[in-house]
Symmetry: C2
Subunit: 451 residues, 2 copies
């Protein structure tokens, strides 16, 4: 070869080296474990869909960012979320699958977005949804799953922020502003960033709201405090507005159930400013922020919708779900120094020391693997120092070191790579002494390490 091709990834894309991919796989496994604990079922859908399935279904932004092309005369798009594929999937299969249908879907999505803000054009979403029921039980369960996800991932100080679109809709009804909901939602969304004066101007000019109406909207947005206090203020404000009161009652049922299930009161609250998209959600909505890093935004968001798949089927499919933003969460954990660093999937390292005794080393590895440990055998009979340096760099916990003397005696050294303590254990006729020595040595290793 004269000219080499420069090895590089596309702008906005990235490789995952083992040090990042090991905890990433661990997080995906945690998500699957939590979803399965509640009976959610896995599905998968193609990365590519007919363009007509995808285009015009998200926002203007997702339309603009979609990767699209023609292949074999067909117009094709790459999925930019897992919700629209779920809607298409449900329209196609729900007759066979029946309802209620609870699914999870962990898969990459693609958005050709501006990469300046450290955003990536390929990222993994971990969605879970319950389709075909309007029951508050599904709302509660969604909140419980978010709380368990956070806890099991190791985020102790999360904030599950809840709202109900019915609350705002109730207020708009009270103010006879039902037709102005998009403008009001948009304004509420900007309130924190732009401040009340600018938002008031906008609500007057674009929304056509009176000062009195704006005062009431701002009063709603200003309701803060602990869960009971917020719910009571909302009940007061929405007195006589059936839809609004129903929305408040639902939030009350959910928060009571969360407490009863054992989610600590300080882990969730009602935040009336959360809207989560303008058109899609119709009931309860969720956001999840990290108390130690609120600036990264919500790492798990979702809500209730009236009709999932109306574009593809006449079957009415209400539901509720949320999406764990895996890659955003990993970035957050990394910033907080909470991402478990692991450079090895195996705990135990076996140096290939005496070149003539390969079969002995392999037998030793097998015995330890059969006992449930992950074991790496170095592939070349290099100097022991070189091999142990490799083991140190990769973060192995133990090395089983054996030269010809040990092999002849049917023993090996169990060398703890953290505290450097070694013991000798026999293994050939009976593996128990070795396995016991490994267990003892492992018990001395403190701190969180990846199994």
């Amino acid at each position: 070869m004269t000219g080499l091709i420069e090895p590089r990834t596309l702008k906005g894309f990235r490789d995952y080296v083992p040090e990042v991919m090991i905890p990433r796989e661990q997080l995906m496994e945690t998500a699957r474990r939590v979803y399965r604990r509640f009976g959610y079922l896995p599905i998968d859908t193609p990365a590519l869909e007919y363009l007509e399935i995808l285009s015009g279904k998200g926002s203007d932004e997702t339309d603009r960012q979609m990767y699209r092309f023609e292949h074999g005369g067909k117009k094709i798009g790459m999925r930019f979320d897992l919700t629209i594929p779920l809607a298409r999937f449900a329209a196609q299969h729900i007759g066979q699958l029946g309802t209620p249908f609870k699914r999870y879907h962990i898969a990459p999505v693609w958005r050709g977005e501006n990469t300046q803000a450290g955003r990536y054009r390929e990222f993994v979403q971990c969605d879970f949804d319950t389709i075909g029921t309007e029951s508050v039980v599904a709302d509660i369960e969604t909140a419980v799953v978010i709380a368990e996800l956070m806890t099991e991932i190791g985020v102790e100080r999360f904030q599950l922020r809840m709202n109900n679109r019915q609350v705002l809709n109730g207020l708009l009804k009270k103010l006879s502003l039902e037709d102005r909901s998009v403008a009001v939602l948009r304004a509420l969304d900007k309130l924190e960033k732009m401040g009340p004066e600018k938002v008031r101007e906008e609500l007057q000019s674009t929304g056509g709201l009176s000062d009195g109406q704006i005062d009431e909207v701002f009063a709603l947005a200003n309701i803060k405090g602990d869960t009971d206090s917020v719910l009571n203020q909302l009940s007061e404000m929405l007195k006589g507005v059936e839809q609004g009161i129903a929305g408040v009652d639902r939030l009350r049922t959910i928060t009571e159930a969360l407490l009863s299930y054992g989610v600590a009161a300080e882990r969730f609250h009602i935040d009336v400013t959360i809207a989560r998209g303008l058109d899609y959600y119709t009931g309860v909505v969720f956001e999840t922020t990290l108390e130690e890093l609120p600036s990264i935004g919500s790492v798990c968001s979702g809500g209730r919708y009236d009709n999932l798949a109306g574009l593809y089927t006449k079957q009415h499919l209400p539901g509720i779900g949320a999406s764990l933003g895996l890659d955003r969460l990993i970035a957050a954990l990394d910033q907080l120094g909470k991402l478990p660093r692991a450079r090895s999937t195996a705990q135990i390292f076996v140096p290939y020391f005496d070149a003539d005794r390969l079969l002995d080393y392999m037998r030793l590895c097998r015995i330890v693997r059969d006992a449930g440990w992950n074991v790496e055998l170095y592939p070349e009979p290099k100097k022991l120092g070189v091999q142990l340096k490799y083991a140190d760099e990769r973060g192995f916990w133990l090395a089983l070191v054996a030269g010809s003397d040990e092999l002849n005696a049917g023993t090996c050294q169990v060398k703890n790579l953290t505290n450097k303590i070694s013991t000798i254990a026999s293994w050939r006729d009976d593996p128990q002494p070795l396995l016991a020595a490994i267990t003892d040595s492992m018990a001395m290793i403190s701190g969180t390490r990846l199994a």
Copy 2:
């Protein structure tokens, strides 16, 4: 909506409903478990690459089948295997990662191929490779991993077929036909399908081989039998040809080590007709077929290569690896009736029976989940018969049934959905009686069911 969009997948693509996705996830987890047991590390790379990275790197066929498009003025291709992304990845990161580097990569690939033969255009590959060493230890380990993959997936009767490209190269050298290797390999590949006469014609016309040379090539192809016998015949045939003898010796070392590690002799053999691609592999090559379904072809293939990433870096990176064809294997297991059927990820079903006692049902669920079981709570207080029918259809193992009487008494019925035997167990003050009853009832369920 007046006009509905037809919900459908692209031709050659498919959805995975839970019944298929549950065992598919299980197989991927098995693969990850086996790879980690030997210290392979996970990586991931983007689905999209610069077209120049991908095009012209596989075969003419992969070039033709590649999904390619332009986005933001860049020529982009979708990966069609995980080997070329590994080469690009290694060229970019191996300095940081060091060698030997053992990685696994489980991810979808895309090929716009003819879909008539029941082939799909999107499928998952599970690759594992050891880079940066020429040691036979890596060859042995690759074979051991294939054998453990098959065993743990539940394929008892597999055939690991091995060859070494050095054997044929040795024979070609002996016959002074080194420059004709591509023609001879191609002919050998066709031997079984087309028969010796047609292949002889082709070797004469295209390859320019003499009848004597063709006889020797055919004699090689006809070497069959148990491992020792094949190795001895090959040694005889290649006597004095250093390269060929080295190739035979390497196969001997590998097969001896496999036996020593505990892989049964009837699970592997030497098959001198295996070539696995014309240009890429340079040493040992592997194929894995199912004795009960050889027609489906190899479900796990690979081999040794001299230089992985020569197109992207000057660093010489020899290595060996193999790829488990997950979706082909699933199709095979399905045909053999060996695919575990599961329609639920949870084992235990809790009907929502008494509408007023939601918090009690949730507490019951939590107790059982905390003990490690996956538990689904039905979201609506429908008639018990409707709920139990749902549980039966989804294949739950047990139902925990409680009406107001049971809830008042702090008990529930533990109903085995397989044998219909019910017992009453208490749980509110002390969960142990319930958990013991669940364990007892589970123990009565026979057969393989998914945890």
